[in-house]
Amino acid sequence: MLIEALIKIVLVLFTVLTAVSYLVLLERWISAWLQDRIGPNRVGPLGLLQPLADVLKLLLKEDIEPSQSEKWIHWLAPVISIVVAFSVLAIIPFGSSIVLDGKSYSLAIASNINIGVLYIIALTSVGVYGITLAGWSSGSKYSLLGGLRSSAQMISYELTMGLGLVSVVMLCGTLDLGGIIQSQISGGWNIFRAPLGFLLFLISSFAETNRQPFDLPEAEPELVGGYHTEYSSMKFALFFLAEYANMITASAVMSVLFLGGWHVPFLNTFGMDPNLMAILGIAAFALKIFAFIFFFMWVRWSIPRFRYDQLMNLGWKVLLPLGIINIVITALEKTYLLH
């Protein structure tokens, strides 16, 4: 049991860390392509070794600690960010299950957690501590402003996110992610059953991961760099890593909750080997995650940042009422349509 879990952890961590470093490259490519440029293509074939060069550069940089900072918390903040970003991955089901030697292995580090959705919500809320503490402990006003914005933004958008989730939980009747996928396999993907809920969740995911157009905690034109102004070297790299890891987890969570996770429609009608089907499922899941990540990046290079009051307006006056309406709609749908 323990060895099985360890193997899964190592596999998942390795994959995600590699993916994260390549996401940075992808982001640079996409930004270039959307602006009629070519993008990084010098390091290695097609620029594929660029992440290596970036990491080396960051490793060799001097780690500067501001004299006015709270040393211990300044050190702790990036750790919180990265830990939170990775721990959500623990309960994501990457595929159905693989049968080896007559024994079935589920493709999730911790499968059948009956409070899965709650765990995700709880952990992503902890993520804001990393940013807020980073902003507060740096002893710089720009960082502090970034941290403050981050916490205000999280509070406003976490509500919408939660309300979007409620519709999923209502439709599926379970908090277990595996169960949610099973319910989508039998009853259709949640994006069709609760489109408004999906939209709300998508929008708040942008705020949750601090991506444009909601990247006010960073807002480099106004706040220099926001919460990570005073960070350098590997500590800065950890924040960077956390941002991209958060993108992966948010995409994975959205795929599981709304796009049926590893489910490929009509695949079981071909009567294939279950192991092959599981592997195809993993590929489908990766594809769904990739689609979301591409969307995240596409939006980043298309839409300008919100002003702070616009952000608050949108969060409290538009998205929150919509979230409540969505619950009513879902309830009506559940009582009258789906029976």
Partner: protein
């Protein structure tokens, strides 16, 4: 608040239509615009491999014109040196058996000083010093930046385009 300048003819407080107020359709329109660029030809010039060919009007590194007989046109009158605003040119004259009687034994341009103004070319009575198309100037030592006759002399046929351009400009005045 309603000052509309001649540069900005957009209406200042335009009422948004309901469709625009819905916001999401406009976002979708913006996303569509950017995704179109994904498939457009790129503007980037891959510099060291793809070089830019300057037009004749370009003022690059000043060079000395070498006539077909292998001698420079320069008669070492020193006007270029005199007119040069940053004092980059140094000429030392001497006598020669050729018809022009005078020639520069030493002709040096300090490329760290040169500001590519083209005054030397403009003032030269012999069309002996012209601006070339060369814009790739790299040196690692101070001494390398002082270009002597060996680096300045350029065959006339390589500069024909610039010489024709100068003639055209002068005649059109």
């Amino acid at each position: 608040m309603h000052n509309r300048s001649k540069y900005n003819n957009s209406k200042p407080n335009r009422k948004l239509s309901l469709w625009e107020k819905l916001y999401l359709p406009e976002i979708a329109r913006g996303l569509l615009t950017t995704i179109k660029h994904l498939f457009r030809p790129k503007f980037t010039r891959q510099y060291p491999e793809e070089k830019w060919e300057a037009p004749a009007a370009f003022r690059g590194r000043p060079v000395l014109v070498m006539d077909d007989n292998g001698a420079e046109r320069c008669v070492a009158c020193g006007l270029c040196s005199r007119v040069c605003p940053p004092l980059a040119i140094e000429v030392q004259a001497s006598e020669t058996e050729l018809l022009k009687e005078r020639f520069p034994v030493r002709f040096e341009i300090n490329m760290l000083r040169c500001i590519f103004c083209g005054f030397c070319e403009e003032v030269c009575p012999e069309e002996a010093i012209v601006m070339s198309k060369d814009y790739e100037l790299v040196f690692t030592k101070y001494d390398d930046a002082i270009y002597g006759k060996d680096k300045l002399l350029t065959p006339k046929k390589d500069l024909q385009e610039r010489l024709d351009y100068l003639r055209e400009m002068r005649n059109s005045k």
